[in-house]
Symmetry: C2
Subunit: 423 residues, 2 copies
């Protein structure tokens, strides 16, 4: 007898809802025991995990996937140890569930406050890297949520093996194994079924390319927490310390290039462009960074280094590579207008010594993180002190920036009365 895919997914949703109820108010102690068991079992199963991973790698090689993608897919011993270490970091974080905030007394004597609670059931739809399975599941368990994981087909065997270890850890600690479920089919129909499961799934978190995220948004009435890419700007103000500006630009662009919080566009105030740009461009060029500049930039740089003409598309492109687009702007106002028009609302940096200009940039740049005199690479859950993250939200509602345990919870009102009636 075969079960249809929608029926399978509905069954998973129902089991997840039940598991979520049980997990929601489990003690922090038992959640931590489960997380420790999850970490331990992953380490114990290093051999079988690598056997499962070899199946995915063989398929990837036979399909002729790029070497970089195959590398992302590979579960080395080190990566398995890192997954376990990631889970143990989550153990060390405080339990967010149950805290009551701002309990205050109303004129009629009632106490009104807000209690932090799990969201319920979280559906995660992700591509490639198998470590997401462990990272996401650990954050969901700690925040008291059940999770349904739908990984990419390239990592199917690896993800399934990891999820099995994680669910075993839950069961060992006496928590419902159905709080971590893996969609055990690569059939695309399963994604549609999951997106339709509004009676059981409280939020969908897609992690992957823009096409995936667009498909998810258009295919569901369930709220979505989006983890979009980053077109991040570093703006060098006319009052910048130019030595600091050079370090922050280099770090923001080159410390790691394939990540969402890397700087993709450099904006430079015209008053400092002639002094700042030539040495900066030389340093970037020598480090292997391609430059794409506006007319003014190319004029200033002349023959110092090769500079491609920036096209209108460049300002809207996330390179994820050693490429930087550069524009000279006449004013801070123009820099903010450029950011308003082209930013993906991820991270914006101003380098300046002027307090008023720093404050204006902080107010007006409308992105998940806005920084004064710091590298764009800092927009990250670990760097911000959240301990761990599910990704970085470029949404405006519910949660912006790194999504940690707090982003996976919600607040409900609690009222403590002594018989108060409404008049």
């Amino acid at each position: 007898m075969t079960v249809s895919i929608p029926a399978l997914i509905t069954e998973m949703g129902s089991a997840a809802r039940q598991a979520a109820r049980a997990l929601a108010w489990s003690s922090g102690e038992s959640k931590n025991l489960a997380l420790e068991a999850m970490a331990r079992i992953l380490l114990e199963q290093t051999g079988p995990l690598q056997t499962a991973n070899a199946l995915d790698l063989a398929v990837a090689q036979s399909k002729g996937l790029e070497a970089a993608l195959i590398d992302r897919l590979r579960l080395t011993e080190l990566r398995i140890r890192e997954m376990a270490a990631g889970i143990r970091q989550v153990i060390a974080l405080p339990d967010p569930v149950g805290a009551i905030e701002n309990l205050s007394r109303r004129p009629n004597g009632m106490q009104v406050g807000r209690m932090r609670t799990p969201i319920g059931v979280i559906g995660i739809i992700y591509e490639s890297r198998p470590n997401v399975t462990a990272d996401a599941a650990a954050l969901c368990v700690k925040s008291g949520n059940a999770v349904i994981l739908r990984g990419g087909s390239e990592a199917y065997h690896s993800n399934r093996a990891i999820a099995t270890c994680l669910a075993a850890g839950l069961a060992e600690a006496g928590l419902p194994a159905a709080a971590i479920q893996f969609v055990d089919t690569t059939d695309r129909e399963a994604v549609g079924a999951l997106l339709s499961l509004s009676q059981y799934v409280d939020v969908i978190i897609p992690r992957g390319g823009k096409e995936l995220i667009k498909r998810v948004m258009q295919g569901t009435t369930i709220p979505v927490i989006k983890h979009l890419d980053g077109i991040c700007h570093t703006y060098i103000d006319r009052d910048a310390d130019l030595a600091m500006a050079a370090e922050l630009t280099f770090n923001g662009k080159m410390q790691r290039t394939g990540v969402c919080n890397a700087t993709e566009t450099l904006l430079v105030h015209e008053a400092v462009a002639a002094a700042f740009l030539p040495p900066m461009a030389r340093r970037l060029h020598e480090a292997g960074c391609e430059l794409r500049g506006c007319d003014r930039t190319r004029e200033i740089l002349g023959d110092t280094v090769p500079v491609v003409v920036a096209t209108p598309e460049d300002w809207d492109t996330e390179y994820l590579a050693a490429i930087l687009s550069v524009r000279v702007v006449p004013t801070l106002t123009e820099a903010l207008a450029h950011i308003e028009a082209h930013s993906s609302r991820h991270t914006e940096v101003i380098v300046t010594r002027d307090h008023a200009r720093a404050m204006r940039f902080l107010r007006e740049a409308d992105s998940s993180a806005v920084m004064v005199n710091a590298s764009s690479r800092f927009n990250d859950g670990f760097q911000f002190g959240l301990g761990a993250e599910m990704g970085i939200s470029t949404d405006k509602l519910h949660v912006r920036g790194p999504v940690g345990l707090e982003g996976l919870t919600t607040l409900k009102y609690v009222v403590l009365g002594e018989g108060q009636l409404r008049t």
Copy 2:
């Protein structure tokens, strides 16, 4: 030359986005001046507002609308004074924009915190009552958001006249009038166009019946803050003070019946049902409340008062009328399971003297407000001390319960550095 409706709405969206940028960082003082001008102009225009309203009333009467609906539509002098008073209450509230929370120092010396900012452009799609136009616009202005208002066709002339007064108030205070725009057509195509405007509209708030809300959710990829109806429960525990329980039940059901926070289902622990139900039923019956009971309830009540057999649909119905469904439950666990299965996640009340049972109910009942020994009627922005509200969200993400100024804002990360680089 006629402009197509999608082109008209797109133009409004573009103007709203520009106005939102200007309004976002206007001072609290100028926002309050605008609100005061809005209130004053509404009062000055009482005559013209009533003339516009008479057009809507004439259409409603010719269509044979119910008397209650026509009454909701009517703009009496008192109601216009109440609208102005509502705006003045919003003036008295603190400006939420710009506060920075939890600014803390990271190990590398960076300060990381979160700044409260406006959401941007809010689209409100609502039915009937014209006062919503003024209430919603006032909250949006105070929280620094631009608003596009799409009212129901029944109140078209009234809403348009009110919105004109409000935009005039903005202009008088030197703020952009386009921060309050009214969709000046009753054509339904305008709703579809507004729901497609994801490049300009940051959140959609539908206010009205379930059909409207369902249509909005299915027709948009823009985040939605929902104001659904309430199937609220009052649970009388075995350890309840029965005199208090009777007052809270009566107040929760009968203080006002046509509202979302009225109690629709009474759950009674079987240990107290025989003592509690007969006098309670008599009192409700004498006040004109119809009762619909489970078998056990009908057995206990016998011939005391007429009790209709509750059908399965009754547990899922929001009566918005003097009707109460009653169920006897054997345990607190069963009461929580009933709530989990049938609640619209609006408001749940437990009446008990037992601390542990109160705490368990507070934790496990998963609704926007959960109360111990207080009337369900208290789930309301004014009662909770928010000052004013857009409605009550039954969503889990971003905001639950009454949506006041805070619910119309969002938090972005701010980082104050001194040249920190990522290593």
